[in-house]
Structures are given as structure tokens and as C-alpha cells.
Symmetry: C4
Subunit: 227 residues, 4 copies
């Protein structure tokens, strides 16, 4: 720890430099809740001639798939966020900024999701490639902001709950780094090789993060218990 | 209880596997609040020639009915959610997932509601049937996620508040199973027999759940008291 | 108090029939926040030919006035809600329903506000009258739900905070009854006599409720203090 | 302190004239969260002929810049709000009104942001000038409401947390006054001299407020520590 940073806990709270996490959690929960709910606005009722609704609804399948995927993605980000802040004792300005970075990425999800679903619906390859690229770019950005958050918490032991293993946030940072790489590769594959392969990877990544959302610590622990 | 699941309460909280319910409640409240408020976005001001508003507003009656029904449906889901989590002491990852399942269904309500109201407004029978089918399907899905949540709480006594009767969540699970059956039957009736009959059932079901939203336990208790 | 209603406080909380007000407050705050924010969605950027924006923005003046009025109206409802629940100790199912009634009215505000502003913008008298009527109807409905809430709290002393004067909610109920009458009269005036007069009343009523939002008790108390 | 204002703390809380800040914080967090999330609704997927998406997406660059700037602006307002209310012990009606003033300004941000981005996209100078003027006007309004809030807290020591330096909110008020002046000047520059210069100032001001969002007290303190 750098000198002068971890001294004077009481003094810092008094000066308003540190606070408990209630407010950053309440604000983030509201953002997650709004993003996960706004996704449904993209499920529009098709304007059709009478009797044309069944066909028009079926043609919208990429929109439904995008809705499901995005819901899962936001849900997993919320679970990650919950798992992270369970282990945080208090927040300072730096943690607030890193958290705002994560929320920035989450807020953009409905937009890139709509890009992909519209492009797939229309079926033009050059449109699909640009949409896949935008989605991958957001995945990279979002993973990078998680890395920033985990790195910050790794470097500030004074913000962590007592009893959180020393290596916990270092391992989480690695998990986020994996996301940066995976979204970058999926984007390149979608651009140069195959759009459907990239879409499948986009579907699988949230599943992976959902299963590991409570930290690799939990996974190892579960395996150990069952063994 | 399976061995190894109910041991080490303190240890589990420390490891972040269990948490109090504040966060899952705050997030769910925000989702319920947004869905119940977004419904109003479907009440659009009709674009008419000057003087045409009275007639255009009256023609929208299915939209108003749908707004009222959906508001009631979301309200009842919120009351159910509140009644449920009053009896929950702490949350683990499995409960978070079951709760996200419920929220997934709730989030889709404005979409299927809009489908039904538009179809009834246009008056084409084949459109109405597909809309009724979609609404019934969502009702089945939402009831099924409630079943999942109740089943999970029935199997995990360690997550319940002290003093909650042992059979409480088993009875709730049955109440949710009834919803699965009722929405499925209403959907089939709407499809094969009569659209209006299905619509009336859709209106009555939230009323039933509203009256029983604090658990059948309460109903029996009230009857007993009055007797 | 009716026999059998005020007995067994602990027992009732255990049975989940009563709860603290945290959740009903959190949910209501989210609804108020969303409604007050959704109002801005009606301030659309006019689609004009280059150079036409200044004129088009000025022509939208009824929309700005409606935005300001509605913001004030929702704000005053929130202040009323805060003032009310400061005096509530715990919530039961009946209070939840009355509160959902208030939220139902609040949720409809953006719709009737948009009706009025569009009608005034277009300038057709028959459209204006129907819009004024709809707005007045909502004002009546919303005041009536407040009456319901205050009446419920007046009849249930066991739900009130210690130290709340016995007549507090009876006085509040009267204040709400005044709203029912005022909105009804304003609606009739708008319909039969003059649209502008009704609009001015719609503007003044939230101001009155804002000034008295902490209960007539406070007003009398302030006057007494200054005297 | 004026006689009769700071007496009888307990009595005032009992009368509902004062309350803890939980509710005003919860409501404000929800408003901030919704505004910061609604901004994304302006990022629409362009309706283009197949293959036209890459070009159409690139042409939208002012919209992306506006999204980023507004996100930053709302984030900084939230940080300011958090920094402020960390130092507030309880709220009275006057503080609620000042806070609603700040939220009023924040709520209007998506509208003026959309005005600017559309005008820049279209490229007509007279449209750009009116949009710049509207944005500057909102900046002035928002800074003025912050001044109101800080002034109120400066005058009511009984609302502040223990240990908050006596001059803290006086310094903050000055910081807000600087905002009033800066936005006014930027608006005049945009109107009479150069649109791009005004846009750059609009981008820089939130950065300044972000860096100083925990009060000038913190900045001086940090400098002192490093020295």
C-alpha cells in the first residue's frame, strides 16, 4: 500500500472521501433494472394488415433471440455486480468512477443488441458484419470496465470486507481479461469468417459468466465439496 | 436436506454465497416499478385531424382495458413478491436465478398485452387468436417461474424466516401450478372456442391471485377468525 | 377498533400480514421517479427542414407548459407521499392496495398531460374539451385514491407512528376531498364555459397541494409560530 | 440562526417536518438512473436500405458524442449529489424542494442533448445556434438549482452532519455560481461567435465538475497531502 492512502479511516469518512456502499448499490440496481426492462421496447407489435400478424410475429425471431440474450447478459452483469459488492466494505471516488464505467457499458447494451437483431432480420451481410463488430466492441469495453473495477479493488484492500481472500479480485480480474479477449476474437471471427459462429459465441459468453458469477473461488469450492 | 448444503452458515455468508435479501428486493422493486409504468407508453395520443379526438379516443377502448388489466397483473405480482420475500431470510445464487426468471416473465407483460389490445382493436380473428395464444403462453411461463421460486424455497428451509410454517411454500407452489393450468386452458379456449371467454379469464386470474397474494395460509386464517 | 383487528401485533407480523414500510416506499419512489422522468419523452425534437427549428420549438409552447405542470404535479404527489409515510409505522395488505391505487393515478398523468398539450397545440375546441375532461377525470380519480389512503390510515391507528395526532389523517382526507371537488368543477368549467380557465385551475391546484403537502397540521403550526 | 428555527429537533421530527435523508436519496438515485439510461433511446438504429448501415452509423457521430457527454454530465451530477448528501443529516421540506429543482434540470438533459446532436447532424447554423442556446440555458438553470441547494444547506447548519466544515457549502455554492457564469458565457459564444467553441466548453465543464465533485475541500486536501 502506498503511504498516506490507507491511514486515517475515520478521518476519510468524515471528510466524505469514503462512504458505505448503499448508495452506489441503489443507483446501480436502478440502472440494471431499467436496462433489463427497456429491452422489451424493442419487441414492437408489427403493423400489419388484418390477418398478417402470425407471419409478422414469426419473422421477428431474431428480435426475440436478441431479447433473451440481452436479458441474460444484463442479469449476469447484475449477478456479477452483486457478487462483487458483497465483498466491498466502503466506496471511494475511484470506485464510483469504475462502477460508472461498468454502467456506461451496460447502458449501451440495448443499442448494440438492436443493431444485431435488425441486421439479422434484414439479412444483408455487410450490415450484419458492422452490427457484429459493434456488439463485440461493446463486449470488449464492458469486460475492460469490469477489469478496471476488479483491479481497483485488488489494489485497495482497505475497501474490501474482512475475510475476502487476498487473491479474490486478482482472479476476477483475470476472468474479465478473458472476456476482453473472447469478445475481441468473436468480433474478428464475425467480421472475417462467419457471422453465425460469432452469434453463438455471444450467446455462450453470458452463460459462462453466469455460471462463474460468484467468482472462480466458488466454483473451485463447489468442485472440492462434491469431490 | 442434502449433506453439505445446510452446514456452515457463517462460512457461506463470508464466502459470498449467501446474502441478505435487500439487494434482490431493491432490484426487483425497480423492475416491477418500471414495467408498471412503461405500460402507459402504449396509451398513445391518437394522431387525428382537428376535432377527431373524441372518436379516436373512444375507439382505443381495448388499449385502456389492457392497461388496467396489466397494471393489476403487475401489481398482483408485486404483492406476491412482497408476501414471498417477507418470509425469506437470506438469498443464495439459486434464489437469485429463480427470481430473475420471474422478472423475465414480468418484463414481457407489456409486449403481450400490446399484442392483445392491438388485435382486439383491429378485430381480425386470426390475429386475435395468435395474440391470445401469446398472452396465455406468457401466463404459463410466469406461473411456472413462480413455481420454480416456491419450489426452491420449499427445498431450502435455511433460507426461510424463522416461524414460517413448514408447508407454506408447498401450498404456494400449488397455487402457482393452478396458474400454469388456468392460463394453458384459457389459451386453448381462446384458440379453439371463443376469444372473449379467454379475455375474461385473463381478467379474472389476477383478481384471484390478488385476493390470495399473501398465501392461502392467510385466507384460511381470516376465515377461521371470522368463524 | 373492531374486535379481532388490533390484537396480536407480533403474531400478525410473523404471519406476514404486516410489514415495515421500507418496501412499499421503495417501490413507490421508483414509480414516482419513472413517471417524473418519462414526461420528458414528450418533449420531442421537431423534425423540420434545416433552419426551421427556432420556429418549431416556439410553437411547442403548450408541451413545455404541460411538462412543467406535470413535473410539479408528480413532485407534489411525491411530497404528499413522503409526508404521509413518515407517519406510518407498518403496512398491511389494505394499505398496499390503497397505495397501488394512488400509483395507478400517478402512472396515468403523462398520458392525460400529453392529451391536453397536443389538443392546445392543435387548437381545435372540441379536442380541447375532451382533453380537459380526461385531465379533470384523472384529477378526480387521483384525489379519490388519496382519500382512500387517508381514510384507511384514519381507521387503522395501529398502522400509525406513535405521536401522530389522532385527527391528522381525518384532516388529510378532507384535503383530498377538496381535490375531488376542485378537479370535478374545473372539468365542468372547461367543458361548458372556458378552456383557459380550467387550465389555470389545473396549474394552481398542484401549487396548493405543494404548499400544504405536509398536512394542514404543519400550516397551522407555522402560522402559530410566526404569530 | 433565526430564532424559532433551530429549536425543538425532536419535536420537529415528530411533527414530520424533518426526516432522515433515505427517501430523498432513494428517489433522486432512481431519477438519475432513469435519465442516464434514457439517453440510449436516442441512439436509434438507422432505417436504411440493406447494406447502408455502415455509412448511416458513421453519419450519426454527433449522436454518439452527445450520448457520451450527457452520460458524463449526469454521472457528475450524481457524484455531486452523493458528495452533498453524505454531509446532510436530515431533510426538511425546503431541502426537498431544492432537490426537486436539481432533478428538474437533470430530467431536461436528454431533451436539450437531443436538440444539439440533431442540429449538428443536420448542419444548419441557425438550428445549431438555437440548440446551443437551449443547452446553455439548461446548464445555467441546473447550476442555479445547485446554488439554491448549497445555499440552503449553508443557511441550515442543523441539517448538516457533524464534522462538516462550516465553510464547506459556501465553497460549493461558489463552485455552482461558476457554472452559471460558464454556461451563460458558452451560450453567448455559441450564439455570437462560434458553435464548435461552445460545444468544447460543454464537454469540458462536466470534466471540471467531475474532478471537483467531492468539494474543493477534497482537492485542497489532496494537494496538501502530496506536497
Amino acid at each position: 500500500m502506498a503511504a498516506g492512502r490507507d491511514t486515517g479511516d475515520v478521518e476519510e469518512v468524515e471528510a466524505g472521501l469514503r462512504s458505505d456502499t448503499a448508495r452506489v448499490i441503489g443507483f446501480s440496481d436502478a440502472v440494471f433494472a431499467i436496462v433489463i426492462t427497456l429491452l422489451v421496447l424493442d419487441l414492437s407489435v408489427p403493423e400489419v394488415t388484418p390477418g398478417g400478424m402470425p407471419h409478422a410475429l414469426l419473422e421477428q425471431w431474431p428480435v426475440y433471440l436478441a431479447f433473451g440474450t440481452s436479458f441474460l447478459y444484463v442479469a449476469v452483469n447484475w449477478l456479477n455486480h452483486k457478487g462483487t459488492f458483497l465483498r466491498v466494505r466502503c466506496a471511494d471516488r475511484g470506485l464510483d468512477w469504475a462502477n460508472l464505467g461498468v454502467l456506461f457499458g451496460v447502458t449501451l447494451l440495448p443499442f448494440v443488441t438492436a443493431l444485431v437483431s435488425r441486421a439479422v432480420e434484414k439479412g444483408d451481410v455487410s450490415d450484419e458484419r458492422i452490427a457484429i463488430g459493434a456488439y463485440a466492441l461493446l463486449g470488449v469495453l464492458l469486460s475492460a470496465t469490469w477489469m478496471w473495477l476488479y483491479h481497483y479493488l485488488h489494489r485497495r484492500p482497505e475497501l474490501r470486507q474482512a475475510g475476502v481472500p487476498r487473491r479474490f479480485f486478482a482472479a476476477e480480474r483475470l476472468r474479465a481479461l478473458f472476456g476482453v479477449a473472447a469478445y475481441a476474437i468473436a468480433g474478428l471471427v464475425g467480421w472475417w469468417v462467419s457471422v453465425p459462429v460469432a452469434l453463438v459465441v455471444f450467446l455462450l459468453l453470458p452463460l459462462f459468466y453466469g455460471l462463474s458469477s460468484n467468482g472462480s473461488y466458488e466454483i473451485r469450492r463447489r468442485i472440492r465439496r462434491r469431490g
